[in-house]
Amino acid sequence: MADREIVEVQDLTKDFRRGRGPITRAVRGVSFGIRPGETVALVGESGCGKSTTARLVARLLRPTSGRIVYDGVDVTRWSTHRMRPLRPMVQMVFQDSWSALDPRMTCRDIVAEPLRVQRRYGRAQRDRVDELLARVGLDGRYGDRKPATLSGGQRQRLSIARALALQPRLLILDEPVSALDASIQAQIVTLFQDLQRDLGIAYLFISHDLAVVRHLADRVLVMYLGQVVEEGLAEAVFGAPRHPYTHGLLAAVPVDHPAARGRGPGRLAIGEPADPMHPPSGCVYRTRCYRVADECAHARPMLLGPADHREACAFPLPRPLAELRGLAR
């Protein structure tokens, strides 16, 4: 089946515990799948569990419970050794490309390294490495240079070339443009779109920049304190958010014209996330929610609704964002 999910996760949970201290439930009951050629985005504030989820999807971490399925095969409990032949399928690009690149290697060696590790590097691959460098916008001159001589944008291009070397079907992009200047950020975002169009590659995109997410994502999952509180098609979630948290996140994004100042609904996501070691009872968002009611403390709301847009909230928002934005502060 061509359209089968590349990776599917079911009811994923990950707990961390330091010594005998309290348990941090970093990820709780997260389920989603990623199909060929699509972009799924995880959004939420620092500490919401989006990067932990990404590392679980890459099987760099083993979940506390739940299932991770690669192309129909359950790999949840597979050892590092057993995972190795599957690693090429899912590759990662991080925000801080500087720390992910060996300063003593040339750009060509950096891109060739995954091929060597997977014992796929031969005479024929030398051309392939140059092709990859060219594909991400680094021409032949760069092959013999070291990462220290590259700008931030060029280093990110290099990281992308290396991630592409093993022809992955899924790239996990963890804040890949957050550290870049605006003009360079737009270049890299456009590169991601071109690569997806030409190679049919899928992305799991993690970012706190909601405008970039809206630009790239087909589907969005909004996470808060380890849980998915809203998910669906990007157009639906951004156009008509139903969870007050999503609404608060969107309302906090700066306006793009001064004339729109003060028209927004104000600061809806007040304060900061609750302590993940001591999450509130019932709905975890209730301590910051502007629509909170008594029953929110009792029952934890489940994700309800059709797959193209659902939310975990007892009192979802009734109206589209444009209308909500029109309300006075």
């Binding site: 737009a186 405008a211 306006v255």
Partner: protein
């Protein structure tokens, strides 16, 4: 189009090379900062002139290496004298901060001018409690404050910036606070002596969007109490939200300056236009962004003429040879571009 009306506007007759304008708190003129490089001295900041007016938020926008942070660091005497040669003037209340000695600057920093940085840990001491640091900030400029008053003012300063349970925070250390709370404490410290000017260098870059909104609100509240604010950022979106006026820097120079609405609606420089086109929008999905090609030039490798010309989609022959001056381009609006008429169609 409406330029005829604009050219007669009195607001623009005061050029930045004139004397200080009446409503300016800080007047910067011809600020130049030369750094020693392997190929000789190079100007990280190149003849920059601007005013910070009373009670305004001035946004200084530009990419890495544009000189925006060096501009402010030089004004505050925070560049190392052995590597940087600074010329020009920056007059705050009749005192030129550029020629002033360290003892004068020490009296100005934290008293007349509060500073907020991207990483709050640059401002916070990891081994002193929040209360001790706030008390230091007060006592540095006024030794006679009593212990009770120190405590009261510290608690009030924390409450002012929305720190929950301010009394308890006095005994805490920076590492016990979240990033958002650290930045609030840093802002409380910057505001504690009621400065007339606050310089905020990328104050929200490291923060989540929710905390960013809260921090921007704090700066606006300070502005509403009469404090002038300079916000340095690479994010044009932040300026659309908070700035009254904007100065756009590229390769060490201001290439456009004007009211934020004017700069966005009647953009006077192709670099500003490029920055705008690079930004994805939240309100509507654009199929494709239009990035600016290439990358900002390195300090040692700046192009002649207009420094932006190799990346400029509308550059002409003159752009490679003649450096454009920052001249009037509308009401209270200036641009340094030979091709501004073409840009505005």
């Amino acid at each position: 189009m409406t330029t005829t009306a604009a050219t007669t506007s009195p607001a623009q007759l005061a050029t930045p090379t004139d004397g200080p304008t009446a409503d300016a708190l800080l007047t910067v003129r011809d600020l130049t900062v030369l750094f020693d490089t392997p190929v000789g001295p190079r100007a990280a900041v190149d003849q920059v002139s601007f005013d910070v007016r009373h009670g305004e938020v001035l946004g200084l926008v530009g990419e890495s290496g544009s000189g925006k942070s060096v501009t402010l660091a030089s004004i505050m005497g925070l560049t190392r004298a052995d590597t940087a040669a600074i010329s020009g003037s920056a007059v705050l209340d009749g005192v030129d901060l550029i020629s002033a000695g360290e003892s004068v600057l020490r009296g100005v920093r934290g008293k007349d001018v509060g500073m907020v940085f991207q990483n709050p840990m640059t401002a916070l001491n990891p081994v002193r409690s929040v209360g001790a640091q706030l008390a230091d900030a007060i006592r540095l400029h006024d030794r006679r404050v009593s212990k009770t008053e120190l405590r009261e003012r510290s608690v009030a300063a924390l409450a002012e910036v929305g720190v929950p349970a301010p009394e308890m925070r006095l005994g805490q250390y920076a590492h016990e606070l979240s990033g958002g709370l650290q930045q609030r404490v840093a802002i409380a410290m910057a505001l504690i002596n009621d400065p007339r000017l606050v310089i905020a260098d990328e104050p929200t870059t490291a923060l989540d969007v929710t905390v960013q909104a809260q921090v921007l609100d704090l700066l606006l509240a300070a502005r509403d109490r009469g404090t002038s604010i300079v916000v340095v950022t690479h994010d044009l979106g932040v300026l659309a939200e908070v700035a009254d006026r904007v100065a756009v820097m590229y390769a060490g120079r201001i290439v456009e300056m004007g009211p934020v609405t004017g700069v966005i609606d009647r953009t006077g420089h192709p670099y500003t236009a490029g920055l705008r086109a690079s930004l994805p929008r939240l309100e509507q999905r654009i199929e494709r962004l239009t990035p600016i090609g290439g990358a900002p030039p390195l300090l040692v490798d700046r192009p002649g003429g207009c420094a932006f010309h190799p990346r400029c989609p509308i550059a002409g022959e003159i752009c490679g040879t003649e450096r454009p001056e920052l001249i009037a381009a509308g009401a209270d609006h200036r641009s340094a571009c030979h091709r501004v008429e073409i840009l505005r169609g």
